[in-house]
């Protein structure tokens, strides 16, 4: 079977990135290069990836095959053998389908958004690299190659968050994202190493890990499961490593869309689903993951209700939705979790792109109350934004309803009523804060009319395409009560996910409940914010407005002690102990040398006397030892 196409999914954006990067060097060093070339390279390469993925997907629909492409042996030390290999099975092709598709649309959107920016070429070089890293992560055949993509995604997010590095906040936000992610990455790497030793040092490809899983002791598997999940916490912004995600909004909006919809944050969920064979064996860890997800979802939703920055509200909503996904994968409903990743990609990309359109139209204003004060007429953006808000709130028949309701039903079916209750309450909050944002930004009465509106076709067309996805994606995995055929569940059959089996009445009751909850949230938002006086904006005050002081707590708990420790090591250990020891010993040698040099006083008689003493000593020695 000729599978050589597989690697080109990764290579296309990677080469695109290199090409744009070199061209950008030429652009700044030699002569100006028109933005058109960058946008051509930048948008065509993800499209190529998408087409290849699509063709592989269609082939997999016909015949049940798994694509596997081995390029070369990357590392071979003793028993550790790492192949540079890519795996195109149902899971990775499913994932790369929407990663490339949504990624491609975001690239097109970025052409309009970044128009006229000085770093246009640089932006697209980073952007393609971001997508390539994510695709390496998705298509990797072993955890080490996955880790390359994992780190690549981290680096690209760092580069893109501080894209406008002239501003200090951006640099700080990028550093925060990178450092917090490193904590998770460290966990992930330790997890892989633990797994390697637990399995008896076998070949590290996913298939051989799965085959050898029975050799390992349970304790080590639990340990590696936890460590791998710490990695997922960092990448997918869960408690306690979520603090970077809201700050990451410092980057230009297309980056936020890419991070939140197609790349980066979904990596954690994908990784857990990749290791489904590991996690389904250790259910207590699965439950732990589900609880982390539930509390992250709740915390993010509570914080989001008081935020005033449009992008930060969306960031917290992403964290909240990621919490839902972790509930699903933690409880063993991998395909349900991935289905939510899939639908979320559409409506979250759309929401971010819509938000970006609004922000652009109003001279980069991000405060929702100020946006409302100078509202511009943006019909397409307003409509698509509404679709996204409805989808995320979970109103049928929009896509978010089906995926979120499946997760709620899963928690209920597993008997995890606490998780179910938290998730239900979060669903209420989600509907509330999303519609709060919508009502303030687009509905609440204002007294000014904006005089400046900028939109471009490249902004609105991707929005419209995504709107179709946000409405229709849910039908791919229609529950059987509506006559659906569970396409996604069937497609991801390899994951051996649990499925929802409950009697029809319970299922209908649960659905009705979640619709009622979402509707209540919308009503609450409507009554409070539909006629809100935007000239008297809310502030981010109080316990919730200050995000539960989590940043401050982390600062005093981790950052300040680390700083104090660094200062201690610098000023005390380094200067007073190590330096003192080295400097004093060298000064001592110099002094001894000076003392010895005083013997060389050029006085001939002194030398003679010295020689005499020496010779006498030698003779005495000889006399004693030889007994002469």
């Amino acid at each position: 079977m000729n599978t050589s196409l597989l690697v080109w999914i990764v290579l296309a954006p990677l080469l695109g990135s290199i090409a744009s990067g070199l061209l950008y060097f030429y652009h700044i060093k030699k002569s100006k290069v028109s933005d058109i070339y960058f946008s051509l390279i930048g948008t065509i390469t993800p499209f190529i990836s998408f087409l290849i993925t699509l063709s592989l997907f269609l082939r997999m629909l016909d015949e049940k095959i798994i694509f596997k492409q081995q390029l070369f042996t990357w590392l071979n030390v003793d028993k550790l053998n790492i192949e540079m290999a890519f795996l195109g099975d149902n899971l990775s092709i499913f994932m790369s389908m929407f990663v490339t598709f949504v990624g491609w649309l975001i690239h097109i959107y970025a052409v309009g958004y970044m128009k006229g920016d000085g770093g246009f070429g640089k932006f697209f070089a980073y952007f393609n690299l971001f997508l390539a890293s994510m695709l390496i992560l998705v298509l990797a055949d072993n955890p080490i190659i996955l880790f390359i993509g994992w780190e690549g995604v981290g680096v690209c997010s760092y580069l893109l968050i501080k894209f406008y590095y002239g501003k200090k906040e951006n640099v700080l936000a990028a550093n925060k994202a990178f450092i917090v992610n490193r904590v998770g990455d460290f966990g992930f790497l330790l997890g892989v190493v633990t797994l390697f030793f637990a399995l008896g040092e076998v070949d590290l490809s996913f298939s051989s890990i799965e085959a050898n899983l029975s050799n390992a002791s349970d304790k080590l598997l639990v340990l590696s499961g936890v460590l791998l999940f710490i990695g997922a916490m960092g990448k997918s912004a869960q408690i306690p490593l979520y603090v970077w995600l809201p700050d990451a909004m410092a980057g230009p909006t297309p980056i936020s869309a890419l991070i939140h919809a197609a790349t980066m944050v979904t990596a954690g969920i994908y990784m857990v689903a990749r290791f489904h064979f590991l996690y389904s064996g250790i259910e207590e860890i699965g439950l732990f993951i589900a609880y982390i997800g539930a509390f992250s979802a709740l915390l993010a939703a509570i914080i989001a209700t008081r935020q005033t920055d449009i992008k930060k509200i969306l960031a917290y909503s992403t964290m909240s939705q990621l919490g839902y996904m972790f509930i699903a994968v933690g409880l063993g409903f991998y395909s349900t979790g991935l289905f939510h990743v899939f639908t979320h990609a559409f409506f979250k990309a759309m929401l971010f792109m819509g938000a970006g359109g609004v922000i652009m139209a109003l001279h980069h204003e991000q405060n929702i109350f100020k946006i409302a004060q100078h509202r511009a007429s943006l019909p397409i953006i307003a409509t698509t934004f509404l679709i996204g808000v409805i989808a995320i709130s979970g109103i049928p028949p929009f896509s978010g309803f089906f995926s979120k309701d499946a997760i709620l039903a899963a928690a209920f079916q597993e008997g995890q009523y606490l998780i179910w209750a938290i998730a239900m309450f979060t669903a209420f909050l989600t509907a509330f804060y999303m519609f709060r944002m919508y009502f303030i930004v687009f509905v609440a009465p204002n007294h000014h009319e904006a005089d400046y509106v900028y939109t471009s076709k490249t902004i609105t067309i991707p929005l419209l395409i995504l709107a179709i996805g946000a409405i229709g994606a849910g039908f791919l995995n229609l529950p059987s009560v509506f006559g659906g055929n569970h396409f996604v569940d069937t497609w991801l059959g390899q994951l051996h996910s649990k499925h929802i089996h409950m009697d029809i009445v319970t299922e209908y009751v649960l659905m009705a409940l979640s619709i009622i909850v979402a509707a209540t949230g919308i009503m609450a938002a409507h009554s409070k914010y539909a006629n809100f006086d935007v000239s008297k904006p809310e502030n981010e005050t109080g316990f919730i407005g200050n995000k539960f002081y989590i940043d401050e707590i982390y600062d005093s708990l981790f950052v300040q002690p680390t700083k104090a420790l660094s200062t201690f090591i610098d000023k005390i250990v380094d200067e007073k102990i190590i330096d003192a020891f080295i400097m004093n010993s060298s000064i001592g040698f110099v002094n001894i040398g000076k003392k010895v040099a005083m013997i060389q006083n050029a006085n001939v008689r002194f030398y003679a006397a010295f020689m005499l003493v020496g010779m006498t000593a030698v003779f005495i020695y000889l006399y004693i030892t030889l007994g002469l």
Partner: protein, 104 residues
């Protein structure tokens, strides 16, 4: 018959006087003479033992030492003259230019 010990004693005395002269005196000429005294002390020692053992080897060495000392004397005296010309003195305490830190 003068005993071997006496010869040895005289030569050791000569050598020791030479050593003390080198260490204690400051005049270069006196130092030079003390060195010659040491040489001759050793020569006497060699000759004594050569006679004692009826062996001519040490006497040959002694003759060579005397001849080399004569050649050396020529160089030594010319060096002393040059030193005197440069500093107008024969005090060894003045010739300390090879010590650390002192400028020429």
């Amino acid at each position: 018959m003068i005993s071997l010990t006496s010869y040895a004693f005289v030569s050791m005395m000569l050598f020791s006087i030479g050593v003390i002269g080198v260490v204690a005196r400051r005049n270069i000429f006196v130092i030079y003479m003390s060195i010659e005294l040491m040489l001759n002390g050793v020569n006497l020692f060699l000759v004594t033992f050569a006679r004692y053992h009826f062996n001519m080897d040490a006497q040959i060495i002694t003759v060579m030492v005397i001849s080399i000392a004569a050649a050396e004397a020529a160089i030594f005296l010319s060096v002393i003259i040059l030193l005197f010309r440069s500093r107008k003195s024969l005090d060894t305490n003045i010739f300390t230019t090879l010590t650390q830190g002192e400028k020429l």
